[in-house]
Amino acid sequence: MDILIYGTINSIALALMALGFALVYGISRVPNFAHGAIYVLSGFITWTLLNSFGVPYALSILITMVLIGILGAVLYQFVLIRVRGMAISEIIASYAIGLAILEGLRWGGFKGMSYTLPVFIEGSVIVVGIPVDYQRMVVVGLGILIVVVLWAFTHFTRIGLALRGMAQDERAALMLGIDSDIMALVSMAIGAMLAGLAGAVLLPLGNIVVESGYNVLILAIAVCIVGGLGSWVGAVLAAFLIGFAQILTVVYLGSHYQMVVALLAIILTLILRPSGLFGMQKELEERV
């Protein structure tokens, strides 16, 4: 039962970490290697608002979301737009931005363990004999909610439909009057906000450390490669595959093999099925 409970929690946490990356790539085809840095930065912004400016916690998270969304849009408009379509340049540029953010934070003194965010709800509950803290239940609830909201957004709103159009065929979308650059900018903003939201809900489980940025990026890439780059459905499914595989590894092999699971998943997918579970070779619509 502990495998089922913590496997589900771990999987949803992975999905939360990866959704922003998958969304940006799915729409703009830009692999945002600054994703992990944005995740960590959002945590530090919330911490600063909460502790240095005394802003209430919920409002701090809200302001962080807005700021991070603007940051995502700015990064696209002033950096990534110039290299869009050049895959290697996109990777180099976005990774450089991520490095600058993370190492800049470290240089600025954001190091050590004193940067923590409070949990949303204090305490824990025993589920079938297994202790689970309320914050992890929030992770599960919010993870499901985000998937539902994203689905509804991309199926029932004009912007969402335009984003889907972009993801399916950029040239066709252009012919229908959809501005691809605006949509890519919107996708970067939403992707950054999703990274920020993941940070807001996951970081209270631990503390905010610069190194998390690199881990989150690796996990997001692993999830997206296994799921098929650009496919949200694939990303969610891959999150469950990797999430459960990690927990099973911890239980039967040991915790120090946990990270190997994600890396092994990348290697095996690239060897056996380079497009991933729901990648380019699948129905285009499945990507959104």
Binding site: K111, G112, M113, L205, S255
Partner: protein, 423 residues
């Protein structure tokens, strides 16, 4: 008028006599202390602060008497990054070599911090015949084994703090105390995937089993792990009563938060537990880390009256840096500067061979007791009694404070159990 003139002359003479020795010392060529430290991490910055504090004190008192000439110390710090996950040992070695060749360090004090990096750096000490005092984080027992085995090659290295085997002895003695008081005898070991922690955990497991403890399992975590829940559930299922933790990563505070959230009926006992050593631990865990025990290796890293110098150092550190001594490298790094000063003055020279010989004869009362090195392996001589040797320190977080609970000779309180463990 004449009296006024004499007064001014007397005052000037006094100023000259009082100030000149210090000023003269500062005018002399400084003795450069190269400090290779992982500065973004606790065991790096606490050592840097300890070294800087001691250097400031020594320089303010006139400097180091080298064969009749007073010379000041100068600190050169380079970041080895060796505590960061994924950073190769070669980074630390580059920093060490740069300190020797570019910064012209006369001596090395501090790290490298990670045992793997420090052991690798010993080859460089031989190559450049550079005396180094290791002061922080380097806990592997391989150090003194290597020096003893190949003395001529590795004699330039000294370690001024406790090491893993001594830590295990102290922890086992403390375990026995807990067993006697509360009847606990089941231990679950959680270690970080680094040399000193793996080695320490393994040794502790063996020793504990020999002494009749039930060792229920060992869980190894990669550096940077942020979720310990499955390991904690394993420990709970196994019926653990003590969680023995060997981790120097800041993420170890998460482990304690998760331990509290699960109300796990096992007393957390950090053999090395960087998070719990720091005064900011209480805030970082929002008080959830209460009852955590933690070995801070040497006295002075937590408040106690081990020697008359202990609280003097403690208060000076807190005054200078605005925070109490934070980690296992604070008091030892501070003492290393005074020990080196003493050795240089006795040697009357900066010559490596002479300073090595002088360091081997070191015998002084310091912050954490009597400081002496074993002349055969250059490891500081430990003791449970500060009058006899370097005394360790195990603290417990109680009501927001770090209370030293072991050894008895310097303890300021008793070991307590969390309320959910009381029968």
């Amino acid at each position: 008028m004449k009296m006024k003139g004499i007064g001014i002359l007397a005052a000037l003479t006094a100023v000259v006599f009082l100030v000149l020795p210090g000023a003269y010392a500062l005018a002399e060529k400084p003795i450069t202390l190269g400090c290779p430290l992982s500065t973004a991490y606790l065991y790096g910055w606490d050592a840097e602060r300890g070294i800087q504090l001691a250097v400031d004190e020594v320089n303010a008192a006139g400097g180091v008497n080298v064969g009749g000439i007073k010379r000041p110390f100068k600190v050169e710090v380079l970041d080895t990054r060796d505590l960061e996950p994924g950073v190769p040992v070669s980074e630390a070695l580059l920093a060490v070599e740069k300190l020797i060749l570019e910064k012209k360090a006369d001596f090395l004090v501090g790290g490298p911090v990670r045992s793997e990096a420090a052991l690798a750096a010993m080859g460089l000490l031989s190559k450049y015949k550079k005396v180094a005092i290791f002061t922080t984080g380097f806990l592997s027992p391989k150090f003194h084994a290597i020096v003893a085995k190949n003395y001529d090659k590795f004699k330039y290295g000294f370690r001024i703090h406790g090491e893993a085997v001594q830590l295990v002895k102290e922890i086992m003695a403390c375990f026995q105390e807990i067993q006697g008081k509360y009847g606990l005898n089941k231990v679950f070991i959680m270690v970080q995937d680094v040399a000193h922690a793996r080695g320490g955990g393994k040794v502790l497991g063996k020793v504990a089993a020999r002494k009749g403890w039930q060792v229920l399992g060992t869980e190894i975590y990669p550096t940077g792990t942020t979720d310990f829940s499955m390991g904690l559930i394993k420990a709970k299922k196994a019926g653990a009563q003590i969680l023995n933790i060997w981790m120097d990563m800041p993420e170890s505070s998460i482990l304690l938060k998760q331990w509290y959230d699960m109300r796990l009926p096992a007393l957390p006992f950090g053999s090395t537990l960087a998070a719990a050593e720091q005064p900011s631990f209480w805030k970082a865990t929002e008080g959830k880390g209460e009852y955590t025990l933690c070995n801070v290796v040497n006295a002075g890293n937590a408040p106690s009256n081990a020697t008359p110098w202990t609280m003097k150092f403690y208060d000076a550190y807190a005054k200078k840096w605005g925070v109490e001594p934070e980690g296992l490298g604070s008091s030892s790094s501070y003492m290393a500067v005074y020990v080196l000063k003493d050795a240089i003055e006795r040697a009357g020279s900066l010559d490596s061979e002479k300073v090595v010989a002088a360091l081997e004869k070191t015998d002084m009362m310091g912050v954490y007791g009597r400081i002496r090195f074993d002349p055969k392996n250059h490891q500081i001589i430990p003791s449970f009694d500060p009058k006899e040797g370097a005394v360790g320190s195990i603290l417990q977080w109680q009501d927001g404070k770090r209370v030293v609970v072991f050894p008895k000779s310097i303890a300021a309180g008793e070991i307590l159990l969390p309320p959910w463990m009381k029968k």
